[in-house]
């Protein structure tokens, strides 16, 4: 499964208040949340992001609040994958749970340029800079979490498990 899109590049320690400020958390519908995604950091994001785009970030992406509204807002806005040097624990877990894959690669996060184009093969963990043709490989994801992504998130994963009687 390869996804291609524009790179939206962010810095280190981008917290979930910056992904979606609390003043917009009086709703929980992902489409509504998407309208305010990154509003204080990149006001043009919600307007310009397209389906399949890739968020690229530095260290500790998604730190702070446990609000799952953050990955939901990103996913509903069109972000297909997150490439980061590292992610905060709760964000990482939430992203996989809702079917938004996260790939951790320091090199890719350094080399990919804002506004450039990239392709991400989630299952191979490959990140391709379509402008420079360089390919980077992400840190392997635990097999169990890859199964969650393959199912499309934690809920479909649990439902599949229940259907198999496991």
């Amino acid at each position: 499964m390869e996804t291609r899109g524009r790179v939206w590049k962010f810095g280190d320690h981008v917290d979930t208040d910056l992904i979606i400020p609390a003043r917009f958390l009086n709703v929980s519908d992902p489409e509504e949340l998407a309208k305010s995604c990154f509003i204080d950091l990149r006001p043009e994001f919600a307007r310009e992001v397209r389906s399949g785009d890739i968020a690229v970030a530095g260290v500790n992406f998604g730190c702070g609040s446990s609000r799952e509204h953050a990955p939901w807002a990103m996913k509903a806005a069109g972000i297909a994958a997150v490439v980061a040097k590292s992610c905060a624990r709760i964000f990482y877990r939430n992203a996989f749970n809702i079917g938004l894959p996260v790939l951790e690669s320091e090199e890719a996060a350094d080399m990919l340029q804002d506004g450039g184009r990239a392709a991400v093969d989630i299952f191979r963990g490959a990140i391709r800079d379509m402008d420079t043709k360089r390919v980077f490989f992400a840190k392997p994801v635990p097999e169990f979490m890859m199964e969650i992504i393959q199912s499309g998130g934690l809920l479909p994963y649990i439902r599949e498990k229940q259907a198999r009687g496991v």
Binding site: H13, D15, D17, L18, P21, A22, R23, L25, N26, V27, S28, D40, L41, V59, N60, C63, G64, S65, S66, R67, E68, H69, P71, W72, S86, A88, R89, I90, R93, N94, N97, I98, P142, F144, G153, L154, L155, I158, R159
Partner: protein, 419 residues
């Protein structure tokens, strides 16, 4: 093999003799928690899973605290959804206005969390309960929705960092200063995925309220959980609050830690986290004059009775500086009532402060004290990210309740010694 207290609690809940750092395990959950921001999404996940009944209606707590009393129609709808779910599922621990307060203040107060428990909440500050020797961690709504249905969740057993606080805290220095200092040392990503185990004679002397403050902010270093070995102070706290007795685990003397850090506290001053990160910490004497617009005393970090008492002891007989908005929010109705009885509320009112109903208040920029562009606030809460309490160009400084009191009186960030 030797285990830490965290490993022992997780092993017991995974039905195992032994677990060690890095292992993926599945554990039984003793209490699942969600608030008015995260519960509606967790309930949606629960319904999408096709579940009919929660795994145990006595082991679920739903606490409306972020945007209550309902700040607008949309937030009223969120609380309504939560209330209806609680009624339908006959969840006793749904707290209506009048009973509700800041989730991490009222759950221990009501005896819903005990030493040795596993508590998972759809709120990052769920780690607060580590103060009682419980394993508690924040997760998202999908995880909590799945727990509501199954009563179980998966975890990666965290490696631990042992913090050893040596000596004794001086006057007006306490849990908030120890944790801010520690955050300055570790950084906001210094403990990602890990346990922070708080030990040493300096914390052994601290009352529960200060321990809650410290465990509360473990997540600000990225930690999965923060924990204290429960002692007589913890035992005295839970006395009479619950019919259960709790399980008092201790770390083995030869338990394995990834790091051990010794922190001498004797000469420590009050600490302040400068904008825009909780690890941007300085001793108060290193600050230049910072004039303020607002001071907030409250939150799951410092909205407890002891916090209000300490602030009131400095404010009594004084007036808040002109131009300062001094907002006090007791963490629970019980704390509010005690604060009235003890005359603390009168002290704050006499000084020119304003009292809000028990809730999260302005901590997360929801309501009851939002900052305008360019304004500066000193807050006893836990986060000072860009835009946390309002306008993206406002600033938040974090400190302890005594510094909050001194700052409200002087109008700039001040040490209690300045009074």
């Amino acid at each position: 093999m030797a285990m830490t207290i965290t490993e022992k609690i997780l092993a017991a809940h995974a039905g195992r003799e032994q677990v060690s750092a890095g292992e993926l395990i599945e554990v039984d959950v003793d209490l699942a928690l969600a608030n008015d921001i995260t519960a509606p999404m967790a309930i949606r996940m629960f319904n999408e899973l096709g579940a009919k009944e929660v795994f145990n209606r006595d082991l679920v707590a739903l606490v409306p605290d972020h945007f209550v009393p309902n700040k607008d129609i949309a937030s009223a709808e969120q609380v309504k959804l939560m209330r209806e779910f609680a009624r339908k599922q006959r969840i006793r621990n749904f707290f209506e206005l009048g009973e509700t307060g800041v989730e991490h203040v009222i759950l221990p107060e009501k005896g819903l969390v005990l030493p040795g428990d596993v508590v998972i909440g759809a709120d990052s500050h769920t780690c607060t309960y580590g103060a009682l020797g419980a394993f508690s961690a924040g997760m998202g709504s999908t995880d909590v929705g799945a727990i509501l249905a199954t009563g179980r969740t998966w975890l990666k057993t965290p490696a631990a960092i042992k913090l050893i606080y040596e000596g004794a805290c001086g006057p007006h220095v306490g849990g908030k200063d120890l944790i801010l200092y520690t955050l300055g040392l570790l950084g906001v990503a210094g403990a990602v995925y890990k346990t922070l185990e708080f030990t040493g004679e300096a914390v052994d002397r601290l009352p529960m309220s200060h321990r809650f403050t410290m465990a509360n902010m473990a997540v600000e270093a990225g930690a999965k959980n923060g924990i204290f070995v429960p002692d007589e102070t913890a035992r005295a706290y839970i006395e009479g609050r619950s019919t259960r007795s709790g399980r008092f685990y201790r770390s083995d003397p030869d338990a394995v830690y990834e790091r051990e850090i010794r922190i001498p506290v004797d000469a420590m001053e009050p600490q302040v986290a400068l904008p825009h990160s909780p690890d941007n910490v300085r001793p108060i004497s290193a600050l230049n004059t910072v004039p303020l617009d607002q001071v907030f005393l409250g939150s799951c970090t410092n909205g407890r009775l002891e916090d209000l008492r300490e602030a009131a002891s400095l404010i009594r007989g004084r007036r808040v500086a002109p131009g300062i908005r001094f907002i006090v929010i007791p963490g629970s109705p019980l704390i509010y009532r005690e604060a009235v009885k003890e005359g603390l509320i009168e002290t704050f009112l006499d000084a020119g402060g304003v009292i809000g109903p028990p809730c999260c208040g302005p901590c997360l920029g929801g309501h009851m004290g939002i900052l305008a562009e360019g304004e500066k606030a000193l807050s006893t809460s836990n986060r000072n990210f860009v835009g946390r309490m309002g306008h993206p160009k406002s600033e938040v400084y974090l400190a302890n309740p005594a510094v909050a009191a001194a700052s409200a009186i002087t109008g700039y960030i001040a040490s209690p010694d300045a009074l």
